[in-house]
C-alpha cells in the first residue's frame, strides 16, 4: 500500500458525506422520474390514490386544526405586543393573515404531515421491503413504484394544499379570537386590514409551496421505505431518517421557494 498524503486523506474524509448526499439526491430524483412516468400508465390507480388521499388528508385534519389555531393565536399575541409599542395594533390582523398564508400555514402543516404521514409511508413501505412483500409485488408483475409510490406522491401533492387552506383559515380565526376577543382590537379594523393587505397571490403562492412540500415529504418517505434493509431495526432507522431529511428539505426549499415567489 502506498501511504496517502494526509491532505488528500482529509479531503477524502470531508468529501465522502458530500458524495453520498449527492448520490442519494440523484437516486431520489430517479425515483421521482419513474413515479412521474408511472402516473400516466394504465391501469390508473384511482382507488389507491383516493385511499392515500384519505390517509394523508382526512386523518391529518385534527392535528392541522390544532397546530393552525394555536399558531395563529400565538402569532396574534406576539405581534400585538410588538405593534403596541408604536400604536400599530390595527396591523395585527393583516400580519397574522400574511404570516399564516405565506409561511406558517404551509410550513407547519407540512411538518405535521411529515411526522404523521411521511413517517408512516416509510414504515409501511419499509416493512413491506424487509418482509419480501415488495418482491412479491414484483413476482406478480406489479411495479411497486406504480402501486405504492405513485399514489402516495399524487395524494400528498393534492392534499397538502387542502390541509394548508384549512390551517390558514383556522389560524386567522385563532388570530381573530385573540386579537378581537381577548385583546380588544376593533373587529372592523382587524378584518379591513386583512382585506387590504392580503392578496390572492399570497394565498396562492402558499398553496404552491404546500404542494411542493407534499411532493418532498412523500417522495422522501417512499424513497427511504423502498431502500430499507435490516429487519425491524432497519425500518425504525429509515423512519427516523425520513422524518429528519424531509423536515430539513422542507425548511431549505421553503427559503428558495420564497425567494423565487415573493
Amino acid at each position: 500500500m502506498v501511504k496517502c498524503n494526509p491532505m488528500i486523506r482529509l479531503l477524502e474524509l470531508a468529501g465522502k458525506p458530500f458524495i453520498i448526499a449527492v448520490e442519494e439526491a440523484g437516486r431520489i430524483m430517479l425515483l421521482l422520474m419513474s413515479a412521474t412516468i408511472w402516473m400516466f400508465r394504465a391501469p390508473f390507480r384511482f382507488q389507491l390514490i383516493f385511499k392515500q388521499m384519505e390517509f394523508v388528508g382526512v386523518n391529518s385534519i385534527f392535528v392541522v386544526l390544532i397546530t393552525g389555531a394555536f399558531t395563529g393565536m400565538v402569532f396574534a399575541l406576539q405581534s400585538y405586543h410588538g405593534f403596541r409599542l408604536f400604536g400599530g395594533e390595527s396591523l395585527v390582523g393583516s400580519t397574522v393573515a400574511l404570516g399564516m398564508t405565506r409561511e406558517l400555514g404551509p410550513v407547519f402543516t407540512a411538518l405535521m404531515v411529515t411526522g404523521r404521514v411521511g413517517s408512516a409511508m416509510t414504515a409501511e413501505i419499509g416493512t413491506m421491503k424487509v418482509t419480501e412483500q415488495i418482491d412479491a409485488l414484483h413476482t406478480m408483475s406489479v411495479n411497486p413504484i406504480h402501486y405504492l409510490v405513485m399514489p402516495r406522491i399524487v395524494a400528498a401533492i393534492l392534499m397538502l394544499p387542502v390541509l394548508t387552506v384549512v390551517s390558514d383559515f383556522i389560524g386567522i380565526l385563532g388570530g381573530y379570537f385573540v386579537g378581537v376577543e381577548l385583546l380588544k382590537i376593533n373587529s372592523g379594523i382587524f378584518v379591513a386590514k386583512i382585506v387590504e393587505y392580503v392578496e390572492l397571490e399570497d394565498i396562492f403562492n402558499g398553496l404552491i409551496k404546500a404542494a411542493c412540500f407534499g411532493l418532498i415529504l412523500s417522495l422522501i418517505g417512499c424513497y427511504k421505505g423502498i431502500n430499507t434493509a435490516g429487519g425491524a431495526e432497519g425500518v425504525g432507522k429509515a423512519t427516523t431518517q425520513s422524518v429528519v431529511l424531509s423536515s430539513i428539505t422542507i425548511f431549505i426549499s421553503d427559503y428558495f421557494l420564497t425567494s423565487f415567489m415573493f
Partner: protein
C-alpha cells in the same frame, strides 16, 4: 424451459452460487434440495429475476432475463407464480384480497368470479372461513398455505415454491404434496420446489437437483438420486430420512 448457465452470485464477498448450471424441464416437477443457508432461496429468486446474477445467464424460454428492462421483465413474470419462504403476504390486505390480488391485476374477471376462485383455491389448501381474516391473525403454516393459494391463483405456467411444507404437520404436508402433484398434473405447468423434506421430495419430484457449495452437483430422477454413490448426497438423504423418522 428454464436454463441457468454459469451463474455466480456473491453477497459482500460471500460466494453463494458458484458457476451453477441447471436445466429445468418444462411441465415437470423439479425439486431442489440442499443444506440450510446453501443458497436455495437465492437460486429461486434468480429464476424469477428478483436477484440478478453477478455473471452467467438465466434463460426462460430462451430469453435472458437479466437483459430485459422492467417492462419486459414484468411481461415475462406474468407466466410465473411464486410462494416465498415466509409467504410474503400483503399484511394490509385480508387473506381473500391477497389471493384475489393477481386475479384482479391480470384478469378481467368480475368480482363474483374472482371471489369464487379465491374460495376454491383456499379450500384446495385446506383453509375455510379465513377469507376475511388479516394475515397477522393466522398461524405460520396457515400463512404459508395462503401464499400457496395466491401463487397458483392464476394457474401460472411456471410456479416456484420455496419450502411449501416446512412448518406444517405431517397430515397437512401430505395434503399439500397431493395438491402440488394434482395441480401440476391438471395444469401441466413447470413446478420448481425447494424442499427440506426428503420423504415428500421423493413423492412429488420428477427430477431432483442437489445444491451443494454453490453448485448443482447432481440432477436426476428420484431413483437415480436414491441410488447415487456420491457421499454428499448419500449423507444428505440418510440424515434427512433419519430426521424425518424421529419426528
Amino acid at each position: 424451459m428454464i436454463e441457468l448457465i454459469k451463474i455466480c452470485k456473491s453477497f459482500k464477498g460471500q460466494k453463494v452460487l458458484d458457476n451453477l448450471d441447471l436445466k429445468i424441464e418444462p411441465e415437470k416437477i423439479t425439486v431442489i434440495i440442499g443444506r440450510s443457508g446453501g443458497g436455495k432461496s437465492v437460486l429461486l429468486k434468480h429464476i424469477i429475476g428478483l436477484i440478478k446474477p453477478d455473471s452467467g445467464q438465466v434463460l426462460v424460454d430462451g430469453i435472458d432475463t437479466a437483459k430485459l428492462n422492467d417492462k419486459e421483465l414484468n411481461e415475462t413474470r406474468k407466466v410465473f407464480g411464486m410462494l416465498f419462504q415466509d409467504a410474503a403476504l400483503f399484511d394490509s390486505m385480508t387473506v381473500g384480497e391477497n389471493v384475489a390480488f393477481p386475479l384482479k391485476e391480470h384478469t378481467k374477471l368480475s368480482k363474483k368470479e374472482i371471489d369464487k376462485i379465491v374460495e376454491e383455491k383456499l379450500l384446495e389448501v385446506g383453509l375455510k372461513n379465513v377469507t376475511h381474516k388479516m394475515p397477522s391473525e393466522l398461524s405460520g403454516g396457515m400463512r404459508k398455505r395462503v401464499g400457496l393459494a395466491r401463487a397458483i391463483a392464476l394457474n401460472p405456467k411456471i410456479v416456484l415454491f420455496d419450502e411449501p411444507t416446512t412448518g406444517l404437520d405431517p397430515i397437512m404436508c401430505e395434503s399439500i404434496d397431493k395438491l402440488i402433484i394434482n395441480t401440476q398434473r391438471s395444469t401441466r405447468a413447470t413446478f420448481v420446489v425447494i424442499s427440506h423434506d426428503i420423504g415428500s421430495t421423493f413423492k412429488i419430484a420428477h427430477k431432483v437437483a442437489m445444491l451443494y457449495e454453490g453448485k448443482i452437483i447432481k440432477t436426476g430422477t428420484p431413483e437415480e438420486i436414491r441410488s447415487s454413490n456420491n457421499p454428499v448426497i448419500k449423507q444428505f438423504i440418510n440424515r434427512e430420512t433419519a430426521k424425518a423418522c424421529q419426528n
